[in-house]
Subunit: 381 residues, 2 copies
């Protein structure tokens, strides 16, 4: 599965697809389609056998389709336990909830054969994945990501984590899911702002390595984030391409140690933006990424790597998709932003390693970017 599917050629779209993540004994499949919550039990049984499942979700998801999913799983005889329903929000990725979940699992006498099913967005996926990583030194889990962001980002890579008071995702483990089921119907009830934020990560895959995918997104993007009016087959194709791309980038490659780093395109800026808001919820991760992508293009142009028209084109598309692209009006002082970026990267002598681009679809790693150039770009509107 190459991340470089040529979207310029005519392609038949389907409302179901599958991506295989090849990791030897830890390989797994990502199933993407419509009405897949209904089909989840058969997919789980096919991939993992008929085993006891325990559902972890949050109260919003529980409200919209969690109860129905629980009925489906109960009906199929896969679970006999009530779902573990977390409050909504990033604050559940902490020690108290980790401990709460583990206590609950042991109280319910789980064993090494029990499967955790994470039904929800990135927070539920990260938390449940980490619980699965450390319960009985590792049990299986299935991801059913329900936000666009988690469907295209956290379903691949096996990163699980909780936050420390000292920073996000500092405590965690690599623990691959055994199966990922993506039901695009869950996107019907996703708030539009969250859909757009997830879309920023989809765009990124086009921008770093697949110009034809980007061009296709310029046309089809609006239909991905349209909620109940979305075109399912376009969503399936975009998610499938994103998952396959991420899988390719996180793949170990001796010849290209920088490959994985390309996924950070726009993210050094984005983390600084999120950090300066103190993760107060005023800026979604995907929104920070959208702004970071524009800054990465502006920096690339400033350093003579990227034509101006590409910068404008990306900015226009992101704006057209309802995403923030400019710092103006934010009132963020530049100095703390720089400080965060430098601390983030443990840079010593005024030079940062940065992902830049030669234009749409041509990102590369540059090891010597000066603070002065970064500052100049942050001072642009």
């Amino acid at each position: 599965m190459s991340p470089h599917t040529n979207f310029d050629k005519p392609m038949g779209l389907s409302n179901a697809s599958q991506v295989k993540i090849d990791l030897g004994p830890r390989s797994y499949s990502i199933h993407i389609g419509t009405d897949y919550l209904e089909r989840a039990p058969e997919m789980i049984v096919e991939a993992l056998g008929r085993r006891r499942c325990l559902i972890v979700t949050d109260s919003t998801v529980q409200h919209f389709y969690g109860r129905r999913f629980h009925d489906i799983m109960t009906g199929a005889g896969l679970t006999r336990d009530d779902p573990l329903v977390m409050p909504v929000g990033e604050q559940t990725k902490n020690f108290s909830y980790l401990s709460f979940l583990l206590d609950n699992l042991f109280m319910r006498n789980i064993d090494r054969n029990t499967i955790l099913v994470a039904l929800g967005g990135g927070v539920i996926g990260d938390l449940t994945g980490f619980v699965a990583a450390v319960a009985l030194r590792g049990i299986d889990y299935v991801q059913i990501p329900t936000t666009l962001l988690s469907q295209v980002d956290s379903a691949v890579g096996g990163k699980t984590a909780i936050n420390s008071p000292r920073g996000k995702n500092l405590i965690g483990a690599f623990h691959q899911p055994r199966l990922v089921i993506i039901d695009v119907d869950t996107l019907k009830t996703l708030p539009v702002r969250e859909a757009r934020a997830g879309y920023a990560e989809i765009i990124k895959y086009g921008l770093i390595g697949n110009a034809s995918f980007y061009r296709w997104l310029e046309v089809n993007g609006p239909s991905i984030t349209a909620g109940r009016k979305a075109r399912v087959e376009v969503q399936v194709q975009a998610i499938r391409t994103s998952c396959a791309a991420k899988a390719w980038y996180v793949m170990e490659d001796e010849r290209d140690a920088n490959r994985r780093a390309l996924l950070n395109f726009g993210h050094t800026f984005a983390h600084a933006f999120e950090s300066i808001t103190n993760y107060d919820g005023s800026l979604l991760h995907g929104e920070a990424v959208a702004m970071g992508l524009v800054k990465a293009f502006q920096l690339s142009e400033r350093l003579g790597h990227c034509p101006h028209e590409d910068v404008e084109r990306v900015e226009a598309h992101l704006k057209g998709m309802g995403l923030p692209t400019s710092l103006s009006g934010r009132g963020w002082p530049v100095h703390p932003l720089i400080a965060v970026m430098f601390n983030d990267k443990k840079v010593m002598d005024g030079e940062l390693t940065f992902v830049l681009t030669r234009g749409i679809g041509e990102a590369f790693v540059e090891t010597r970017v000066s603070t002065d150039d970064v500052r100049a770009v942050l001072e642009m509107p």
Copy 2:
């Protein structure tokens, strides 16, 4: 490295030895010798390069040689931080101390290159190993086990864990150390009761698969647990043989899936004994193991597998080493012991999988042991 070194042949003993644990990219060495706390810095630098180290220990170890070790590490330029000193005891293997340690690490700005050094017994090793497993999704750690039990048992296998209110070691990860340094001088200050308890695990390696090692221990055992009067080269040889044996038993083997199970010889009984005391400290793990070994021999004899003289011989040696071998006087009711053993093994229909033996050095896995026979053996004095 075979666990089946023939101890009947004359062998030169040395006061230093090394065991290589072959795990592909996660391979590491166990260095065993005298005065090795002094040499630890050079061993760490040789194995891992010159990197920042952080020491985790407990207050007893800190008192006896932790301060000196910290000076050695500081003098070598490997650490600039005060050691993290835990209270003594199993209660530190919980969520509060895990959280305390992680907070401390992030407060001290550790990065992916930082090495944790666990200086202490099994509790410090398990806790520190688990912290290393989850800090930044996994950092390196070095084990310096200071009790006989941890030197021959937990230094091999990569199991790390903390306890849940619902049971011991329920939360953890497999995370291999990058280096294990065993300084037998630390055994000089180990309480004799703890030394004897550790010895029970050494004996086990002889009993399950190496009769010549067992015979050698019958002669040399007393010198291993003799504290300041111990013979260093005997200690080194016993620890080296135990580590190599454990490494061989935990090795994956397609032809022999039961191999690892043999390490549980005596342990199904032992866990029941520990459980019935509620882990109140009145019975050390190794003491429970000694009693469990005798029960496993008695059960093997009862089922016609093992000659009576071997049962007597093992009982006599354990008793001679100052270890408990009999249940008489304990006043433990038999029924709860059986209940624990059955729950432990998730047995359904009155038959248990048990490690039995055909005699000294000839353990094997038997899948159909009836509760009646187990009960009969528990009712023996």
